[in-house]
Symmetry: C2
DNA sequence: CGCCGTCTTGAAGATTCTCAACACCAGTGG
DNA sequence: CCACTGGTGTTGAGAATCTTCAAGACGGCG
């Protein structure tokens, strides 16, 4: 019965991975049967990750998470939000990474997977490994996009861009529609992600509303005029789309 | 004689890699003998990279490069600067990455290496592969740090932080001293990297000078009061140091 | 010499922040 | 049932930060 639960609860991850590489049923079951420990955490809890040395990673099965860095003056910068299907701490397992904290925004369910099990799963199925690495590298590309967003775009463009990006990501895992999605983020969280104050976020959202471009109220993001919004936000879908990697199911280590 | 030239001109890369993993002479010569095409470009030239599909990468042997993204309003955000020993386009070879442009800031010498040759070199020497991947992943960590820098730090702290980081990076390849280094960046370039206007950069540099913290004039960065500057900038050395990766000379594909 | 890129400074203006106050709602305990 | 509380959203007013426009200085280089 645990098995059954796993299969149903990995649906978001599987959907996401499939959007990158069309996995076979066999590969999917290899993935779903990866030994893991299910953990449920309530909103506001921190996901402890004991630095870079932790020999495990987490798959976010349900709920939303924020990864962030605290600054000495008490402010914080949210690096990115994780939605169902995303990995937590995978990068710090594979590569060096600036260590940051994770906080549950909603109640969440995560599956803890040991580095050892990830390695053996990668060995069992190179195409699966490729899909996972490819998904992880998309997250890297998003960080660069956020850098551009915060560095050079005005508050209104920045906000629009960010909420559009979230919409695309949610679409990939089958949540929401083209014009609307549920969003549990408070204006404070949005502010910390966009490098703005919550009060200014509020004003910006009002502007977007008054210009009939989009609304974000009561936990629902709705795009009223998607076309004009994409134009305003200078939104390029390129960095989120499903192109194939150049070096696929081996990164060069195995030679040929 | 090309061989000989290569050996001398790879000294920065070797120095950098050695700071991550103590490579043997054998491994170093494997690296230095990697077939490559030397290219010299004058300042201001763009390094053409034909999108993500390019089956090659570059090693920056000498000079400085900026990687950046242009925005439709003509402004740009510089993602990072590359200094001698850094790789260009390696990530887009291994992983997906938001594609950006490269521009030579000074006259530069780069070595073009094909994906094929990188793969076979990685196969020949796993420890070398590990060192290179580890170096590349440090650059990822820096992007996150830049995000925090731009998102949540004031102009003066941001500038100080960035110039300190550059100093550490240059020290790793044996350029400059603890308190001083040559820096070919114009105030315009610095502005585009920090998400500020060049005029404001100028004022910020003056403030730093007037507070006897540091100077940046005539192409020389000098730290007058390193300790106070590090405190002001909230600078953590952690993400640049030389810790070992968790998964070393294989990323999991080869099993164990 | 003249030109161009860079640095510098002033002044005005735009964007964004901080402080403060209030509305709303869900939950909680009396 | 109601008062209280804490989290969130909203709005106003003033202040700080940063940008834009404008002008001039300096140095390298054709």
């Amino acid at each position: 019965m645990k098995e059954k639960y796993m299969i149903s609860s990995t649906k978001f991850v599987v959907k996401k991975l499939k959007s990158f590489i069309d996995l076979t049923d066999n590969e999917i079951s290899t993935f779903s049967s990866m030994p893991s420990r299910l953990i449920t955490l309530s909103a506001g809890r921190e996901i402890v990750h004991e630095g870079q040395r932790a020999h495990n990673a987490f798959i976010l099965l349900d709920g939303w998470v924020a990864s962030y860095k605290l600054l000495p003056d008490g402010t914080r910068q949210i690096i990115d939000f994780q939605i169902p299907g995303d990995f937590l701490g995978l990068r710090s397992l594979l590569l060096r990474t600036s260590d940051h904290s994770f906080e549950a925004i909603t109640e969440i369910t995560i599956a803890e997977v040991s580095a050892q099990n990830i390695k053996s799963t990668f060995a069992k199925s190179p195409r699966l490994a490729s899909a996972i690495l490819w998904a992880a590298s998309r997250d890297e590309a998003m960080v660069v996009e956020h850098l551009v967003n915060i560095g050079r775009r005005s508050a209104i463009v920045r906000t629009a861009h960010f909420l559009l990006e979230l919409g695309i990501r949610l679409n990939l895992i089958g949540v929401g529609t083209k014009n609307s999605y549920p969003c549990p983020l408070s204006q404070y969280l949005l502010a910390d992600a966009l490098g703005l104050s919550a009060i200014h976020i509020n004003r910006v959202l009002r502007q977007l509303r008054e210009q009939n471009l989009m609304t974000f109220q009561k936990g629902i993001v709705h795009f009223d005029n998607l076309e004009k919004l994409i134009e305003l936000a200078d939104f390029q879908v390129g960095y989120l789309d499903q192109d194939e990697p150049i070096i696929r199911n081996d990164t060069g280590h195995t030679g040929h």
